[in-house]
Each structure stands twice: as C-alpha cells, then as structure tokens.
C-alpha cells in the first residue's frame, strides 16, 4: 500500500467535500459492479464479484455433520476469509492474518447473528436433516484476489451471490434407524434445493472523511478515513449488524445519521446486485 503525500491527501479530502472524488464519483456512488456465478464447479455454490479493482471469489461448500448439543435443530455455518498475496505483496506469509480475521469476524457478526444463533440472516433450521443427529455444515470461504479498498462490502456481496448460487443436495433419510444409532443418509446427486437468499443482507461501509461520508472507498480514500461504520442491511430495510472501525470518536447523532444513509444506499445496492445475479443466472442457463 503506497503512502500518500500531504498534497494528495488534501486533494482527496477536497474532492470528498465537493462531492466529486478522484475518479469523478459522487460521495454515495459505488464503483462498477460485475458478478459471475459458478466459478468453482466443485463447490456447492460460488461467485466472483468485482467492485472496481477489488476482486473477490466466494465459495460455499456443504458437508454433512452433527449439530451442536446446544442447538440440535440448527445447522452450522462458518465463514473464513483469505487474502491472497497476488493482491498485495504484503499479504504473503502471515501478513494478511490480521486483516483476514478482522474481515471474517465482521462478516460473521453481520450474517450469522449472535452466539445464540438468534438473528441470523441465514435460516439455520433449514439446514437440519435429522434433529440432533445430522445437519448440513456450510463452509463459506472468501478469497481476496485483488484489493483496492472496500473489501468488506465486496466480500458480503460475493457471499450473497454465492449463496444464491448454492444448491444443497436433497437427502433421503432411511427411516428404519433406531433412535440412538446413526441414521443412514443417502445424498442425492441429482436433486438440489436452491438456497433461499431473500433475507441475506448486504454490508454498506460508510467511511467518514472530514465532515462527509463516502461509500465504497478506494484504498487511497481509506487511508484518509477518521472512522468507518459498516452496517448490514437486508432487503426489508432491517439492520442485521453493525461494526465501527477506526479510532476517532463519533457523536451518537452522527452514527444515527450514518445508519440512515446506509439504509438508503443499501436498497439501491441490493437492487443492482439482484439484477446482476439475475443476469448471471440467465447467462449460466444459456
């Protein structure tokens, strides 16, 4: 990540204040978004999302497992993020561990809800096969191939698209199993259940620079931020999660303002994302 001189930083701040950023975008405008599904054929669902120069590949794999004792009626989902050194030379070795962990935790908070499983955006009870015995474990992996700012939003979008591309195989459970034995399951190769992603939220990160907020910051603009608030909003305008990053303190009224701006922007973004998903699916069907 190259540093920026005082003069360049001043220019960026000026652009944000005057509502014309270095590439001509307005403050609340996203970069060009492009979406592709099915990029990893051996996964249950996958997607590649490009937001400007940031490129993310997300994959969803479903494996059969045992539900946890605390929640015998729910499946399990875990999210992992890996930043490839092809994106940044500084990501080699263990350089990206901190960033990957931060992104994975933020995604978990926004998409999976609290420890009790409450408020999860993905309906975990739809992943159960046999209560208390067999459930689906979903492993969601995000790979950052190219990085130019706003990784969290792009990851969330990629995960949403990957989930919409996911097909969980139908399982036939043999009913003759005794209660304390492991039931026999027959995983179908032919029939798949499409995952319901209507309630999966997107994440909008608002970066505060000076007195204004911008959406979809490039890595140059991110270096200028005083603080950033990531809000996860679903299609119905409900907030599913919230993270504040950055050291500067924010007035509570500012935070409320940022949340309402995020809600407003998210509806547009969800619209764009949905149309891209539809276009990608149409292409895949051809």
């Amino acid at each position: 990540m190259v540093g920026l001189s005082e003069g360049e930083k001043h220019f960026i701040r000026g652009g944000i204040a005057q509502d014309i950023r270095t590439d001509g975008r307005k403050r609340l405008q996203f970069r060009a978004l492009s979406v592709e599904t099915g990029v990893i054929p051996q996964a249950n669902g996958s997607a590649r999302v490009r937001l400007g120069a940031t490129e993310i590949i997300a994959s969803v794999k479903a494996e059969l497992g045992k539900p946890s004792i605390l929640h015998p009626d729910k499946g399990k989902v875990s999210i992992f993020v890996d930043c490839s050194p092809t994106a940044e030379p500084t990501f080699e070795g263990r350089g990206s561990e901190e960033l990957s962990t931060e992104l994975a935790v933020a995604l978990q908070r926004c998409l999976l809800g609290g420890k009790s499983g409450a408020g999860a955006a993905i309906d975990l009870s739809s992943l159960i096969v046999v209560d208390g015995k067999v459930c689906w474990d979903l492993y969601i992996d995000g790979l950052v191939v190219s990085s130019d700012g706003n990784l969290l939003d792009a990851l969330a979008a990629a995960i949403k698209v990957a989930l919409s591309d996911t097909g969980i195989p139908k399982v036939n459970v043999s009913l003759s199993a005794a209660n304390d034995e492991e039931p026999e399951v027959d995983v179908s190769d032919e029939e798949f259940l499409q995952f319901d992603t209507s309630s999966v939220p997107v994440i909008i990160t608002l970066t505060k620079v000076g007195r204004h907020y911008i959406v979809d910051a490039t890595s140059e603009e991110e270096s200028q931020m005083s603080s950033a608030v990531s809000v996860s909003v679903n299609r119905h305008g409900q907030i599913c999660g919230l993270t504040k990053r950055g050291g500067a303190g924010l007035d509570p009224s500012v935070i409320f303002d940022m949340i309402s701006v995020a809600k407003h922007v998210s509806q547009q973004f969800i619209g764009v994302l949905d149309s891209e998903i539809a276009a990608a699916e149409a292409e895949a069907d051809e």
Binding site: V2, S5, E6, G7, H10, R13, G24, A53
Partner: protein, 391 residues
Amino acid sequence: MRDLNLSLNQTQRVRLEAALHELQSLVPAAASAAAVTVADTIPVNQEDNILKYISLSQENTIQEDTISLFVCADELVWCRGHGTSDQDGEVVATLCGVVERVNKLVYVRTLRARYKPEVGDIIVGRVIEIAPKRWRLEINFSQDAVLMLSSMNLPDGIQRRRTAVDELNMRSIFVENDVICVSTILALSVEVDNCFIFCFSDFKSVFAYVVVLTHADTLRVINHQAEVRGFQHDGSLHLQARSEKYGKLERGQLLMVPPYLVKRKKQHFHNLAQYDVDLILGCNGFIWVGEHVLVGENVKTTEDRQKYSNEAENFTPLETRKHICRLANAIRVLSALGFTLTVELIIETAEASVSSNVEVNDMLGAEFYVQTAEREAKRRAALLRKKKGGR
C-alpha cells in the same frame, strides 16, 4: 482490459471488436512479424561492420581531446542489444517484445515492463526514505533512485555548498511520501564493465548515435569492452532537480500507467491553460494531473504546510477539480485500451466526453470505453491516409 473491469453488452462487444480489428489492420504487416517472445530466434544478417569505441571523459561528454579510437576488426556482425542473448551462435530473445533494428543494433523493445531509465528523462517519483544527504525515491524501476541534496535547488535559490544545517533541514524540503518531479542525471553512476557508450561513424562525421544503457543491460560486442571511467560503483540511478520546474507536486492526483505508453518527447510538462491544470507525463509511467502551480512556488517550506489547517477555504475550486478528474479519467481509459498517451490525445478524449455529455464518472463505463476505441481507430486511419496521400 486490465484496470477497468467492464461488462460489455453484446452490441458493445461487437463494436469494440470492430474498432480493435481496424487498429490491427492499420499496422503494417512487417511490424507485427517483428514481435517475438522469450527464446525466439532473431534473424540477423551476417554482414561486415566496423565499430568504433570511444572511451569517456569524467563528465560523460565526448570531447575531442579525450577520444581514443580504436577500430576493431570486422569479425562480427551485429551488435546485440537489450533483450537478446547469445545461444549456440544464434541470437535469441530473452524478453517478449518487438525486434528493433537501428543502425546495425538489434534489440528487443519490451512492452509491459518496468521503467528503463535513459539519460535526461523527466520522471515523477515518490519519496520513500530520507537518508544522510539524500532522498530515496520510488520510480517504478528495479531499484529505488537517489536524489542527492546537492542535486536539489535550495529553497533560497542561492547556489552554495550544502551545510550541516541544510542536511538537518532536509525534511523541510521533502518528506516521506511526497511526490516530486525530477530528471535523470546526465551521468549515470554505473558499475564498471557494465555501461557501454559507443558511437557509430560513417567515416564522414562522428554521428553521435549514443545509446546509453543502464547498469543492468549488457551490450556486448564480440567480447570487447569499452573503458568506462569516472563513475560511481554503487550502481544506483541518480536524479537531479536543479531547474525551477522540478520539485514537489501537490494539489492533484498521481496516476500510474505502464511506462511503454509514454513516449519520450521534447516536452513533458504541460500547462493546460484552458483548464488551469498542470499535466506532467513522467517517462516512468507516473503521470501527475494537478492544479496549476506557478513556477517558483514549488519548493515549499514548513510555514506553507500550516495553511492546510484552514482547509475548507483552500480546496481546489470545483471547476478545476472537474477538469482534473476528467483528464485523469481520460488517462485511465486510454491506458486501459493500451493507446500511447500524448497530451493531444488526452485532451481530445476529455473534450469528447464533454461534448457527448458523459458524466465524469461515466467516462470509466463501458459505453465511453467503446466510443474512445472507435474514435481512435478513425483518427489513426485518417492519419495514415494523410500520410499516404501526402507522398
């Protein structure tokens, strides 16, 4: 289409293909036959040739009294230049590029590669580190370049020896991450045995075709080695910023494009008065687009930095900013299309966006991309027709 990822719809794709196809047809067939990749054999003619070697004086200028000529026997042949190597008597390419033959010199001109410094280039660099009596700059070369304190104009403009106080005050001139415009120094400090400067003569005049190669290049001719005297041995590239025009760049944005898209011309500073914008095309692929700064104000001191605290009054005016963003986006589109960047082309692209009522940000969209390709194809076709008709 590296930097902009664009999803083109079907019609746009067709139009783009047509425009690129037209561009391809404008190139003479011989040129495309000259393309080579790694390990390709380069055909050379075995001809007699006489070479003269000239040894250099301290300042690297060729002066009469220090010329010592010796004529080497006409054993070989072609001079093998950059990007080639000798394998089993064949000349083989070591890079992907286009074979160029200039006056019996055969070399491979690369396309996408890091910057290759040449004498007297204007480049834009970013300060990485401040070391004793020098600044280290990142210039898209295989190493960092060095700007000595003595190669820099002092703030007070007086020519004098640099004192210890000057050394301590280096931070007041440039700090880390500053963007500055410099020129490659006329004498490259290179390692002995590795820099060859030679002239070709046709016996009537010493036609000074000087090919200077940096320390990394090996121009070997039949095992003869030129004498190189008076160079430093650390092999780094030294820069200078002695004229008023060179110095710190502020109030603008820096763009990075592949160096092969910037042609070496007489002028690299461009003051676009109609926009009140300075455009500097660095030969190393770093391009600066910023607010126009009057010459002489370039070397700022610490007091000026405090001006930034009253920021709101000090921001670039909106009109100028729009122009800066338009020009920057024009450069982004042109470099994504792989077209050579010239001032005229950049201005033309920016003007075209205004006249087609394209929003500044939409210049990075699919439609403008395709339109720019079509426009360029027409322009080059017209140029070719003019050339052919002119004969």
